[in-house]
């Protein structure tokens, strides 16, 4: 016990960067920085959310018709997958804090699997939209699929799809980056980089992962569930 404790502290001391007074200052600083970064990220998505809200208010029918093309089953499954991944991520951080590097690596690997699961399901949805010409641009073509209710406003439904692709695409990009970061944690964890005295990177990547999860928690109702009843 005593020797491993000393070993832990040595690892921690190596991790202390020269310009900090102590580990506590370093940890505080790192997590404060991460929170600031997430604030920036919120504003980054905020521009798109703002565009979405403006257009949704102006072209309500078009947006409802667009959202009816969403596959709610897949969307809901993906929401569940992400929530589970956040759970394993949180447990991973906890394991790092408790000094159980092996458990941490396993939990992070599960998180990665969930991450790929999300992307895979998303890819299926993207493919569906693609073959239905629900991709903005010259080839865009929109039909409600119900002859009794032809598309009232396909032009603005295209904007719905533009925002859909831009927002979920940006979110998927964040997922890819997140998976990369977790993979990096796994490798560093296998090399014994993290101890209860030093696990800032695990904690901060965890924050990032939860943030990306949270963005989806907003995207899902906005894009899939806005109104299932046909305005008429």
């Amino acid at each position: 016990m005593a020797t491993s404790d000393i070993g832990d502290i040595q690892v921690a001391e190596r991790a202390l960067q020269h310009h900090f007074a102590d580990m506590e200052q370093q940890r505080d600083t790192a997590s404060f920085g991460m929170w600031m970064f997430l604030l920036t990220e919120i504003m980054f998505f905020g521009g798109l959310f703002c565009a979405y809200l403006v257009y949704r208010a102006s072209y309500y029918h078009a947006f409802v018709e667009g959202s009816q093309k969403m596959n709610i089953t897949l969307g809901a499954t993906n929401t569940a997958v992400l929530i589970c991944s956040s759970l394993t991520m949180a447990l991973g951080v906890r394991a790092a804090q408790m000094g159980k590097p092996k458990l941490m690596v396993i939990l992070l690997l599960i998180t990665i699997v969930f991450g790929f699961g999300f992307l895979g399901i998303k890819a299926v949805e993207y493919h569906e939209h693609w073959v239905n010409h629900e991709f903005p641009g010259p080839s865009f073509h929109f039909e409600t699929g119900d002859p009794a209710h032809p598309a009232t406003d396909p032009q603005h439904t295209e904007i719905y799809f533009s925002l859909y692709w831009a927002m979920t695409g940006l979110h998927a990009l964040h997922m890819v980056i997140g998976i990369g970061l977790v993979a990096w944690l796994v490798i560093a964890g296998l090399m014994g980089a993290y101890t209860p005295h030093y696990y800032n990177p695990v904690e901060n990547v965890g924050l990032y992962w939860h943030f990306v999860d949270l963005v989806w928690i907003y995207l899902f109702p906005m894009l899939y569930l806005i109104s299932k009843k046909h305005g008429g």
Partner: protein
């Protein structure tokens, strides 16, 4: 202090190691500041060259020097370079990067590697934008208004937008670093109320960087996507709304002008205090005014759109808020002036620039009141009045402050003094040249001369000639410092740790500072600008 002859050169951040790798892979905030200084200076000359071309073209009413397409590219590239690659990073990334960690008594920024990354992002953004310019240029104006930029321009809009997008992340990371550094890295005893005002104003600017920049990043990304895939978000032919672009663009780009001026205001606070040998009058009010400007700055963006077809009531609200944001700026000007009252004032170059700043910023700020007024704005919107106004704020304010700060901290950065007489001459030239260039443009604007005109009606010629004449004086005023700063590196007198006999932790370490800034972490037990207890020596160097 300067009398002691240094026989063995002390190890400092410049001579601790050599070689290109030691610079390109450095995480030392001082070296990164120098990297920024070099790259920003290059961008300044490029932007300045475009400005000279614009002024030469406007010597005559007919568009006879360059073609209209070339002219449109010139003012676009002038704007993009000066705004995104010079003014936004100038004071924070060069002076702030160097001075803020020293001022708070830290060994470095909170995230040294992120700091280096932000310089690389800046370079990547600059190179991307420059590539777009070299391979054909951009002609949308720095404002990228849709649908012209997304549909009708035949130039390299995507390249320029991506360049600014990348540089935006550089700005975000710099801002993030400042906020965290000022929160978490202050020396023991350095409370918020003891913090130098330069740190306060950089903190306020950093808020804008962190909260505003991502919005312009996503907006320009949408412009690029729209051009590439016709997604239609801003294109009225596809049902999109070009006005939404203007809202998103100005949501960042209006706070961005405060982001350009706030750090400059911090520089002026330091200098006015130092050369008046006094604590800044109403320290708390000046500090809070910075935060107030940053906060209010986010609420006034639509005053760029009074004639764009927004609702009358929206215009009313934004006009009112625009008046309100003028108040904290006025408070600062009054406090700086009051600081000089019963001071002990010396006329060193930084102080001359500070005088110039206060005067020109006052004019720039007051003409902003004209533009906030709805009735007047309808007439002068998109005319030379606007050009004159923002050059008074950005050049008369921002660049003057940058020059002031560069002269003030040059001895700290290099350990050498610049030649005082030449520097005073250049300060005078800049002041005279600047006013000759831009004051006539107020009159031109009210006369109705629209901006971004390659050719103009002949009755506007006299004022345009005057403006071009002023621009050449201004150019000389900027070339001189470039020459004597380089000259001083070799031939300048040794500065000693504190040539201005100033307060502030940065003056308590040697010049140039050692790599770790302080031999031991300072403990602060005094207020900011404690000139009462600073020994009252005559300034010996540079007179």
């Amino acid at each position: 202090m300067a009398t002691a002859v240094q026989t063995v050169e002390r190890e400092n951040y410049l001579n601790s190691n050599y070689g290109i790798k030691s610079w390109l892979l450095t995480t030392d905030h001082k070296r990164i500041a120098v990297l920024y200084l070099i790259s920003i200076t290059a961008m300044f000359w490029l932007g300045g060259f475009f400005a000279m071309m614009i002024r030469l073209e406007l010597l005559t009413p007919a568009g006879d020097l360059v073609s209209s397409d070339t002219y449109n590219k010139l003012f676009t590239m002038h704007g993009i370079i000066m705004v995104f690659f010079f003014l936004i990073p100038a004071v924070p990334a060069v002076i702030g990067n160097f001075v803020v960690p020293l001022m708070v008594g830290a060994k470095d920024m909170a995230f040294p590697r992120v700091n280096l990354l932000s310089w690389y992002l800046y370079m990547a953004g600059a190179i991307t934008a420059l590539t777009a310019m070299v391979t054909g240029g951009v002609d949308t104006g720095w404002t990228f208004y849709t649908p012209f930029s997304t549909t009708y321009s035949n130039t390299h809009v995507i390249g320029a937008a991506i360049g600014i997008f990348i540089a935006g992340f550089s700005s975000i990371l710099t801002g993030l670093n400042f906020i965290v550094t000022i929160h978490r890295m202050r020396a023991p005893g350095l409370t918020w109320r003891r913090l130098p005002l330069f740190c306060w104003s950089n903190y306020a600017a950093a808020i804008i960087m962190v909260l505003g920049t991502p919005v312009i990043a996503i907006t320009l990304l949408l412009v690029a996507l729209e051009r590439a895939f016709h997604i239609g978000i801003f294109d009225p032919r596809l049902g999109g709304d070009p006005i939404l672009f203007q809202h998103l663009f100005w949501f960042y780009s209006h706070p961005a002008v405060y982001l350009m001026i706030l750090p400059g205001m911090g520089v002026i606070s330091e200098i006015v205090a130092c050369f008046s040998r006094k604590r800044v009058f109403g320290y708390e009010f000046v500090a809070l005014a910075s935060i107030a400007i940053a906060v209010f700055g986010f609420l006034v963006w639509a005053h760029h759109m009074f004639v764009a077809g927004i609702s009358v009531y929206a215009a009313l609200v934004f006009s009112l808020l625009s008046y309100l944001v003028a108040i904290p700026s006025a408070v600062k000007v009054f406090n700086w002036t009051a600081t000089m009252y019963k001071g002990s004032i010396s006329y060193n170059t930084p102080m001359l620039y500070a005088f110039g700043f206060i005067g020109l910023f006052t004019v720039g700020g007051l003409t902003g009141i004209f533009l906030a007024s709805l009735g007047i704005d309808v007439h002068v919107h998109d005319t030379y009045f606007v050009i004159a106004h923002f050059h008074y704020v950005m050049v008369g304010g921002g660049v003057m402050a940058y020059m002031a700060g560069l002269h003030f901290w040059w001895p700290k950065m290099t350990g050498k003094m610049y030649p005082e007489a030449w520097a005073k001459l250049s300060a005078l030239l800049v002041f005279v040249g600047f006013n000759t260039t831009f004051f006539p443009q107020f009159i031109l604007g009210y006369m109705g001369s629209p901006r971004r005109y390659h050719a103009y009606p002949p009755e506007f010629q006299v004022l345009n000639v005057l403006s071009t004449a002023g621009a050449s004086i201004l150019a000389v005023g900027y070339v001189l410092p470039m020459i004597y700063f380089v000259w001083s590196l070799r031939y300048g007198k040794d500065a000693g740790p504190n040539p201005w006999n100033a307060t502030g932790l940065e003056w308590m370490t040697s010049s140039p500072p050692p790599t770790h800034n302080f031999d031991e972490t300072p403990v602060v037990t005094w207020e900011a600008y404690d000139y009462e207890h600073q020994p009252q020596e005559e300034i010996t160097v540079g007179h």
